[in-house]
Amino acid sequence: MDIIKAKELHKTFKLKHGQEVNNHGVIANEIEVLSGFDLNIKKNEFLVLVGPSGSGKSVFLDLVGGLSTPTSGVVYLDGKPVEAPSAKTGYVFQQYALFPWRTALSNIEFGLESRGVDKEERVKVARELLSLFGLSDFEDRFPYQLSGGMQQRVAIARALATKPEVLLMDEPFAALDAQTREILQNELIRIWEGTNTTVIFVTHSIDEAVFLADRVAVVTARPGRIKEIIDIDLPRPRNGDVRSSIEFAANRHKVWGALKAEVNKAQQDWKLAPVFAE
């Protein structure tokens, strides 16, 4: 059963006054980021989006999360068009985005507060999640007192606290060092395998994509649409050992094969166009 259906998504950003892009000889004040983006995501699936910079992966997450509206096309979540942020989605960002004035515990409570959950229940849920991430003794710490890896664990716990059906993860481990990154990938897989949450995960790392995903969706160079979807046929439950298997390398090769041409195309494109923020 598909929990998310994205149909014919188009998203165009207006640039600031005076800014322009050169799109294959055509000068314009706007930039098309998604063009004919179709994607169906199954319930309880771990779907990873890979694609060159600027291909609109994060924009797609914003559309699913209701933080942005498509120029045309629709995203259906549980059969209903997404128009605003809903309780059904949780969002994890690359920059952690923890509220620095709140402790780890209180950050995790945040989403539950606006849903009117009472204090006792909020603390209970938050403590369970902290313990799930091995952070029970850090509940009184402020974000500045936590390492990057711990902060991102708290951020994931915060997103999971409201029990979302869909977890949106926008390059969540990109700012972490290689070892912490692998540890967090393992933890994420372990925790996800114990829930029935659907995950949409954006990354630039092919290894990360192959290790985590049920399916890897390769997005084209801007304007983005789905180029190819690759089933990752690695058995679950997975642990760190799978990374050194032959099957892993084979899957990695498949994903890179689909991605290579798009990355090259994007590099050509960036030579022509000024940088704009996704």
Partner: protein
């Protein structure tokens, strides 16, 4: 399930003594702050010594500059007889009222200007024009319009203290990291909750700095206002002592003013530290 996952809780065990550690750290930090503060004392002592020497050596006529020891003695006498206290209390009262009013008015206005671009466009020109006039230049106008009583003094303090509060609140709101807003919105926060739980706490550090600057201005303005038309207050006391050629009293009043300023500054720094402890030690010091 893999082995690495056990590691974090083991680390956690080692940090069980966190509360005690943090207490020790606080004491250490306080001592360090005190030590830093104490390093400033010698220069102040040198200053007092020169002050003591100049009139004693006859370089400056003691009639115009009484020795430091005379001034301190006068300050002591004025304090124990309670003559000075009344004036200090009156000045502080005026400052609290004017400054309190400034917080009530300027902070909400700053939020509106920072959040609603339209509101800022409508108000910016007027605000910029007014805030660049010296408050002291406007003193006569306040006296003419509101008379010699309390209202004119409280109004001018309010006016003087408001601008820093307004500007800092506005810039605080504008500089809230958009990622916090995005994170909050992704959790489905209402606009009111977004303000209450994200914009407000994120702006607090900037507002507090505005409050510190505003309070300093309030203290300057109250003295000036009391010098022009008042029958009480520290400004009046200093001015009155000068007119009646009570020179040691005048210097004692100025010394009291310096002490008061110092005290208020430390109080505000302490308050700033208290309310923004979540920012960590960097850039924060008790005696900052």
């Amino acid at each position: 399930m893999s082995e690495e996952l056990v590691a974090p809780s083991e680390i956690a065990l080692k940090i069980r003594s966190w509360n005690f550690d943090s207490y020790v750290k606080q004491v250490e930090h306080l001592l360090k702050g005190l030590n830093n503060w104490a390093q400033g004392i010698p220069l102040v002592l040198v200053f007092f010594a020169i002050w003591e020497a100049l009139p004693r050596l006859g370089i400056i006529d003691p009639l115009f500059l009484p020795t430091f020891s005379t001034t301190i003695k006068t300050l002591f006498d004025l304090t124990v007889t309670g003559k000075l206290l009344l004036h200090v209390v009156v000045s502080l009262q005026r400052v609290s009222l004017g400054f309190g009013l400034a917080i009530i008015v300027a902070v909400p206005l700053g939020f509106l200007m920072g959040w609603y671009n339209k509101f800022e466009r409508y108000t910016d020109l007027l605000v910029q024009s007014l805030r660049n006039i010296s408050t002291f230049a406007l003193l006569p106008i306040f006296l003419l319009v509101l008379g010699l009583g309390e209202p004119s003094k409280i109004a001018i303090i309010f006016y003087g203290a408001s601008w820093q509060l307004l500007m800092n609140t506005m810039s605080g709101v504008k500089s809230v990291d958009p990622i916090y807003i995005k994170a909050a919105k992704s959790m489905g926060l209402s606009d009111w909750d977004l303000f209450r739980k994200v914009i407000l706490p994120a702006s607090i550090p900037s507002i507090i700095i505005g409050a510190r600057l505003g309070a300093k201005i309030a203290l300057m303005v109250v003295i000036a206002a009391e010098m022009i038309g008042a029958k009480s207050g520290l400004g009046f006391f200093i001015q009155n002592a000068q007119f009646n050629f009570m020179v040691p009293e005048m210097y004692a009043g100025i010394l009291a003013l310096a002490l008061l300023g110092l005290l208020i500054n430390y109080l505000l720094v302490w308050f700033e530290k208290k309310t923004t402890s979540w920012k960590g030690e960097a850039g924060n010091s008790i005696f900052g």
